[in-house]
């Protein structure tokens, strides 16, 4: 895909991707006119965006001031509330650290402890028992401090049976802002998404219009340019602003499939100063798209990360595959466990689910355990197919994570036996007559 690769180095693999000076030097060396920050790592760093711009390179993303506003979760929340959009009750530590715990109790339980900076579920904890609040705060703080170098926290009211709905927005430098409908991302483990889809089975047409218009309103208030995602929590027909991601999302392909808009191309046009080529009424959502995230992890062992080497890799036909791996590659614990994404698109939700189910079973990846069988079980699960699920779905249905090793066992053992030379050799060494007498020799 890339026509040029420039190595960067660091003390650890992650450190090299956080080295702003080195990345800008590489962009200069390649004579790059613009830089796309991808997702994760420095993609939501205002400091990085500023450094890119100061180096005379176009940053493909929003203005640094918008990254700063939305990157600080508390500032973002207060900003959204001031502009008249719904947010959840919360208590912010830095308002007055000495009364933080008391104010957290006043918000009411259950609570969610969250870091001011960062993402990816890091440092987040649900607290149901008031007695465990202080311990949860301390644990979250130590985790967050190590990951983001900033231990600031806040607590937010936690809604039971919540659904995670986000809206894709796109803006140009002329104040034009559109939404590209929502994505449903409620199938999660440890606050990380596993399956995303659009449209959401939880939204009525009326609620869809309201949530998408709220997203555009928030982006407009922030004078947002380029691609961004406004995340909401939906519970019992009400939605609340969670946060805004000032970058492209991992799950952007489902939006591309149903709207036929190439989001990365639009990001580049917007960064180049082009006017949006379409208005809100030109954008339609066609059919249903589902994305599966193939992770290097073992759901049956508490979703622990797995490692290995890709010994064999075969992708299924008829679906879109976005992948970062090749045959022969080592899967290490250095980065994220995501290996590839499978994106199905069909006229209806049930057809998209069937297509995704077939694809994840046909995908062959040998050498590293993956979550493929979990994905297949979810896609065949009644609750998922009925659309009645929420962010606690996998936790409440642990049977989905459990693999039944007895299924098809004799086929696996027969293949293994026939593929193992010493096993065949000892059979071949025994004359057929003796073998026919059975197992008396043992």
């Amino acid at each position: 895909m890339a026509d040029l690769a420039i190595p960067i180095s660091g003390r650890t693999p992650v450190a090299s991707y956080l080295d702003i000076a080195q990345i800008i030097a590489a962009a200069r060396e390649a004579n790059a006119g613009a830089l796309h920050p991808g997702y994760g790592l420095l993609s939501e760093s205002a400091e990085f965006a500023r450094a890119v711009i100061e180096a005379g390179i176009t940053f493909i993303g929003p203005a640094p001031v918008a990254i700063e506003l939305m990157g600080d979760k508390i500032r973002a929340r207060n900003f959204v509330q001031r502009n008249g959009f719904p947010v959840l009750p919360c208590a912010i530590e830095e308002d007055d650290p000495t009364t933080f715990v008391a104010r957290a109790h006043a918000v009411g339980f259950p609570l969610l402890v969250k870091p001011t900076l960062g993402g990816g579920g890091k440092g987040m904890r649900i607290v149901r028992d008031p007695n465990s609040l202080e311990a949860a705060i301390e644990q979250a703080r130590s985790e967050v401090r190590r990951y983001f170098g900033d231990g600031r926290l806040y607590v937010e009211r936690y809604l039971e049976i919540p659904r995670h709905i986000e809206v894709q927005v796109l803006g140009d430098a002329f104040g034009n802002l559109v939404h590209l409908f929502e994505r449903e991302c409620s199938v999660q483990r440890r606050f990380q998404k596993i399956i995303e889809e659009t449209p959401s089975p939880a939204l009525s047409p009326e609620l869809r219009t309201r949530i998408c218009e709220a997203a555009v309103g928030i982006a407009r208030a922030a004078q947002y340019q380029n691609a961004g995602t406004v995340e909401f929590i939906l519970s019992e027909g009400d939605f609340y602003f969670l946060e805004m991601n000032t970058r492209l999302q991992v799950e952007h392909p489902v939006t591309e499939m149903v709207t036929d808009v190439d989001l990365i191309a639009e990001q580049i046009y917007a960064a180049a100063g082009c006017k949006l080529a379409f208005s809100q009424s030109d954008i339609a959502s066609n059919g249903h798209a589902i994305e599966l995230r193939l992770y290097a992890e073992a759901p049956e062992r508490g979703y622990v990360p797995t490692t290995g080497k890709v010994l064999l890799l075969e992708y299924p036909d008829g679906v879109r595959i976005d992948s970062g791996i090749m045959r022969g590659q080592d899967i290490t614990p250095a980065f994220d466990p995501m290996l590839a994404k499978i994106i199905a698109h069909a006229p209806s939700r049930i057809e998209a689910a069937l297509q995704a189910h077939r694809a994840v079973r046909e995908l062959v990846l040998l050498g590293c355990e993956t979550n493929a069988s979990l994905l297949a079980r979810v896609l065949a699960d009644e609750a998922f197919l009925s659309g009645q699920f929420h962010t606690g779905y996998l936790e409440e249905n642990p049977h989905l994570a459990a693999d039944n090793f007895a299924t098809g066992l004799s086929a696996f053992l027969a293949s293994a036996a026939l593929l193992t030379r010493p096993v065949r050799a000892s059979a071949d060494a025994v004359p057929e007559l003796h073998a026919a007498l059975g197992s008396w020799r043992n």
Binding site: R301, L311, L312, E369, A417, L418, V430, A435
Partner: protein
């Protein structure tokens, strides 16, 4: 003589015998016949088992046979009889805490010579943004810490060795 294979840490004993159309698979108290494997490429083939044909994708890595059949992936370990003999005879085997996943040591909370009780935290490890506490498998004295803070390790690596109290 039987051969030993392992799937998901469960041992399965089996052997093959020849028959007119391939092999018979002797598995516990059942015999499945005929079984045969036709290679199509270095990584694919067709398993014939009791009249059914199953397309198989496979990769062999030492003792590990990675298989994909009917949408399922399994790792089958062949327990080489020679290796089994060398590792089974260790009565003096120390108590050890192993890594449940590959990762890096974030912090060690005990030091050699310290006595620990079952369930006590020995160290905190981190892997792919996930933190896990390694706890003592039982009462004992910390003998050795094998991986220093900041160092990384593979799954199943020995992290901490313990000795029994009063030994």
């Amino acid at each position: 003589m039987y051969h030993s294979f392992e799937v998901d840490r469960v041992e399965h004993r089996l052997w093959l015998s020849t028959s007119q159309q391939g092999y018979r698979l002797h598995l516990r108290d059942q015999v499945i016949a005929p079984v045969a494997f036709t290679h199509h490429s270095e990584s694919s083939g067709i398993l014939t088992i009791a009249g059914e044909s199953e397309p198989v994708r496979f990769a062999i890595d030492g003792d590990l046979i990675h298989l994909h059949i009917r949408g399922r992936t399994r790792i089958v370990r062949y327990n080489d009889p020679l290796r089994a003999l060398t590792s089974s005879n260790d009565e003096t085997r120390p108590l050890i805490a192993r890594a449940p996943m590959p990762g890096t040591v974030v912090a060690t909370t005990v030091s050699p010579g310290q006595s620990v009780s079952a369930g006590m935290a020995l160290m905190m490890i981190e892997s792919m943004k996930l933190e896990t506490i390694i706890r003592s498998p039982q009462d004992g004295i910390v003998d050795r810490i094998h991986v220093k803070e900041g160092e990384s390790f593979e799954r199943d690596a020995v992290l901490v060795t313990l000795s029994e109290e009063g030994r």
